[in-house]
Homo-oligomer: 454 residues x 2
């Protein structure tokens, strides 16, 4: 039997997480001794939903850059494939990124066409980073932004990430939990995300646990005994109303032995209507402390509608539409691809601003030159506007957003914990005026271009 | 400086790629000595686009199951978190999956509600596999299916996966390349996918390579010298028509020294119109052998429309909408979440068929019992219908689709190479009548339920 392959990314093979053109262009640059020092910008031309983005993913990008190396095995493998020559491949042997990175800290609200990361270094080194940087930043920024919208719709009620099973592969499960925590969710169901990032993880129960027992009541009792103070009962396996009554029986048994049922969970049907019935049933039995959790195809539109209609829901488990950054309005059915189309573009070469004109599609033109963002706030700290200036602009007002992360190959930034990033994100989002945060019909935030740049 | 985290999945931490309820239910089962032998089914209730799915992901699922183990470090970490007790955690120490798996081979067309994987074993072991299995199967099946639709739209012209930069994380990049190769694409831009799966990888050039040189012609010449026989020139950086003329100059220089320009690439603007102009320019210079490659927000709808309008395109690079399995019609703007909602449900416990009724949402009810699929074909091998029967049905006609993969913990299946899977997938898709494969308005394929099951 030949063993099945895992295809897991490792620190030794991540050098191959490149689009092949990065290596072919590298060889062409090597051939002509192109030693130009360039700057590339990571930025996003347009936002799939709403008018702001929450930048996320920098920590994984920097881990990659600091650890990027080509093993002998990797180089031998590439050499055997033809096309790339040994002299070029040998030059990769001692690769170590010696350039500099300035970036907007994770959790910062950013807007279209603002440089989120500046990478400066030798042309072919800067080029090597493209695919990995784009992949990690595009995904985490998409998810942190989507999470912040869903959390906003829940109006202070906790939201949990339940998305791993519908995420786009294993890494997406882990990174979606991370990015959605940045965006404000209270926890995740994925234990590995708890392990890596100290994100609180939570669990309820599956329909399986109930349907493999003779009665729902048997299942509820078995589970409640195992978890005296953290039991959440799933009540929709057969009939939600009967499930609520069974939950009351078990809650009272728990109370009698000094334990406490934490919550019941609704996972199908007309959750808005069912939640009202279930609340009445619980309250009639004196179980007002038992919370109601909703899950099942939720997003900011569904949660918003249910709460507008006074559904007595205490928290939400959001899976598919959070972990995939679903770019569709579930009330209207309008949608687009669930992806952030961030790009990584050359803006400066040997101190000469450069760009792409794109006569055939002006929206794809780049703004030349290495740039800084200055954020202008009012007396109360509320965001007023951003100004994108040339990097060396001396007279800019406001706070510069791009800060040093790597200088001449050395890490100069202390990564905050994910909990610190989450707290900072919430503070920053508070300062974005509501008009730019509305879930539908938000107005664009003002980003001006310094005349030198424009 | 605290080091940034990669958050990479490893063979040692993949045991934590579980939703927490799998562990809490495991402890509750442990407490009541639940040693029931159960079967769970992986299946998909409904298909996001079209009327068929291409099953994919089994190899990574089986790798996981065969290698799943709990390290001491993992168990210690879990023990320190509270909630889970040491006696239960100790029982995981020697975990080894001892059950059996039957599955539909990768690359097989399957239809809604058909069991794609049967997992049989001790209840809490079967339960442990849920999140990883769903994550890998849902994503790869989504992408293999999307790829087959895009390849179909290209009517024999090669399609390449360019999606890593917009994929949902690093694993999604790798697995999307794998799954789209199963679905029929000719190659990928992601080198690591070539390394892991022997998928042909291809590269063109980036706008950066052009804009960092003084002229487009300089850039074309530098690249052409490095790759005498595989050069593909990107001609839209400034003005596509002028880019095509520059490509002609370089193509003739290459010809004079015995090399050959392979292709030019269009990546923006009105590709349908531009491709006709570019073809005329190339042909007028006697360069009819130079191909035209299109990329930029392509999918089956865009490619179909361009080819219906006789765009002289020779191949396609498809990124975002392939690697994210975009579930939206780019001609109408209608869409939904880019995810496959496959589920993993208990169907049998100690030989007793079990299921979920779901009075409040009948579409979420499960079909009880361990099941086999029999596929009925006509004299020419074309699919006629499938019949889902009880596992032990003796009188079924047709070919059983679920075959043994793991028996009593031992691998009994020889995994075919990805190239073999791709070839088999193409053969199978040929046998699906066109009416079920149409890109819009396809008719559902007939799946009957054996009366014993129904």
């Amino acid at each position: 039997m030949n063993a099945p392959k895992s295809a897991l990314l490792t620190e030794d093979n991540m050098s191959l997480f490149v689009d092949y053109y990065q290596l072919t262009m590298g060889q062409a640059d090597f051939d002509v001794h192109n030693e130009a020092v360039i700057t590339a910008n990571y930025y996003v031309r347009s936002i799939p939903q709403g008018q702001y983005l929450i930048a996320a993913g920098l920590e994984q990008v920097i881990h990659y850059i600091l650890n990027l190396h080509f093993t002998d095995a990797t180089l031998d493998w590439l050499a055997q494939r033809g096309d790339l020559r040994t002299d070029y491949l040998t030059s990769l042997k001692n690769f170590h990124f010696e350039g500099s990175i300035f970036a907007v800290p994770e959790g910062t609200p950013v807007f279209p066409n603002e440089p989120i990361i500046n990478v400066t270094g030798r042309s072919r080194d800067v080029q090597l980073l493209e695919t990995y940087l784009l992949c990690v930043m595009n995904f985490q920024t998409l998810i942190a932004t989507k999470a912040s919208r869903i959390v906003q719709s829940a109006q202070g009620r906790p939201v949990f990430d339940f998305g791993a099973r519908r995420a786009h592969g294993r890494d997406a499960g882990i990174l979606a939990a991370r990015a959605s925590f940045i965006g404000g969710v209270s926890g995740t169901s994925l234990v590995l995300a708890g392990h890596y990032f100290d994100i609180p993880y939570v669990g309820t129960m599956a329909h399986k646990f109930i349907s493999e027992r003779l009665t729902e009541l048997d299942a509820f009792r078995d589970y409640a005994k195992a978890f005296p103070n953290s039991t959440i009962l799933l009540i929709d396996t057969y009939d939600t109303i009967q499930g609520a009554r069974n939950a009351c029986i078990v809650a009272k048994e728990m109370k009698a032995r000094g334990a406490q049922l934490r919550a019941v969970r609704l996972d199908s049907g007309d959750i808005m209507a069912l939640s009202k019935d279930v609340r009445r049933i619980l309250d009639a039995e004196g179980l007002d402390y038992v919370q109601i959790i909703a899950s099942h195809e939720l997003d900011e539109f569904q949660i918003g509608t249910m709460l507008e209609n006074c559904a007595p829901l205490d928290s939400f488990g959001v899976g598919t539409r959070l972990a995939t950054g679903a770019n569709f309005n579930s009330l209207t059915g309008e949608g687009g691809p669930s992806a952030l189309g961030g790009v990584y573009k050359l803006v400066e070469s040997n101190n000469r601003p450069v760009g792409k004109q794109s006569l055939d599609e002006p929206s794809k033109a780049t703004i030349p030159g290495r740039k800084q963002i200055y954020r202008i706030t009012d007396a109360n700290g509320y965001y007023v506007s951003d100004c994108v200036t040339h990097w060396d602009e001396l007279n800019a007002e406001g706070k510069p957003l791009l800060i040093p992360i790597i200088q001449n190959g050395e890490l100069v930034y202390n990564f905050p914990s994910l909990h610190e990033i989450q707290a900072q994100t919430a503070l920053e989002l508070e300062k974005v005026p509501d008009s730019h945060k509305r879930l539908t019909g938000a107005t664009p935030y003002l980003v001006t271009l310094d005349p030198v740049v424009a």
